[in-house]
């Protein structure tokens, strides 16, 4: 697995966790130990920075752009030979390359993640 894609996966999962925590629904379900506070924001920024500093700034910019455009699902699994984000059929060579390299879907630009 390409380390960059692995870090991008962790980053997206972390961003989803942060988004959940900030949502009204989450605040209502009774997790008293976690409230939006300056302390929490500071911890979240620190933890997020640990991930983002491992990513090439250009790639990170691309990640942020796709996140903004689609509101999530930036890193998607390849399902058989299809992009897990836009479901377009991918070229076979891309499906092979995504197992070891950082590659994006030629249609939607999402990062492709391959799992056995």
């Amino acid at each position: 697995m390409n380390p960059q894609i692995e870090t991008l996966r962790s980053l997206e999962e972390f961003d989803h966790i942060l988004r959940d925590i900030a949502s009204d629904g989450y605040q209502q379900v009774g997790f008293k130990g976690i409230k939006i506070s300056e302390e929490l924001i500071r911890i979240a920024e620190r933890e997020r920075a640990k991930l983002t500093k491992k990513i090439d700034p250009k790639i990170l910019h691309q990640y942020e752009r796709i996140m903004k455009r689609y509101g999530g699902r930036v890193v998607v699994q390849v399902i058989k030979e299809f992009c897990g984000g836009c479901y377009v059929k991918l070229p076979s060579e891309l499906v092979v390359r995504c197992r070891t390299e950082l590659v994006t879907c030629p249609n939607c630009g999402r990062f492709l993640y391959w799992v056995k």
Binding site: R9, S10, E12, E13, F14, H16, I17, L18, D20, I21, S23, G25, Y26, Q28, V29, G30, F31, K32, G33, I34, L40, I43, A44, E47, G72, R73, V75, V76, Q77, Y113, V115, K116
Partner: protein, 152 residues
């Protein structure tokens, strides 16, 4: 929303062996995924714990997170007789764990609804030490069902 319908006998372990946070999470995750993805799920849960413990007090924890590696909501339950130091908000050991994991996008936001449902059921399980009564996964599911009928 019915929590009981999401529970599976094979995803309930009433005799967790681990005593440390990460080890307990691993033991729980292994009920829903094995192979290389299991460790990635453990790391996702640990990231969530960094932001604040999911130990909600009175011996209950609800570790949870979203993962790109999942395609549907997954639940596992574990109980530790000895108790685990989970940095819970009341600083007391945790005995009962509800693991909830979901994909980033899930239909109808079932994930948050499930977390809310578990929080309600868990509150009931802390009363009169009910969480320690079931001796089998089937008995635990039966107890959860009776609680859900009561708190409808």
């Amino acid at each position: 929303m019915n929590l009981t319908s999401l529970l599976r006998v094979e995803r309930i372990n009433l005799d967790l062996k681990s005593r440390k946070k990460q080890d307990v999470l691993r033991e729980l995750v292994l009920m829903i995924r094995d192979g290389e993805t299991s460790e990635m799920l453990v790391q996702t849960l640990m990231k969530r714990e960094e932001l604040g413990s999911t130990g909600i007090g009175k011996g209950i924890a609800i570790p949870h997170g979203r993962s790109l590696l999942l395609d549907k909501l997954e639940i596992a339950i574990g109980r530790s007789t000895a108790g685990v130091d989970f940095d819970a908000i009341d600083h007391k050991p945790v005995y009962l764990f509800f693991l909830v994991m979901a994909p980033p996008q899930d239909p109808g936001n079932q994930y948050l609804i499930t977390l809310g449902r578990i929080a309600v059921v868990a509150q009931e399980l802390t009363k009169k030490k009910q969480m320690f009564v079931p001796q089998t996964p089937e008995e635990l599911i039966k107890l959860v069902r009776s609680i859900e009928e009561k708190v409808k």
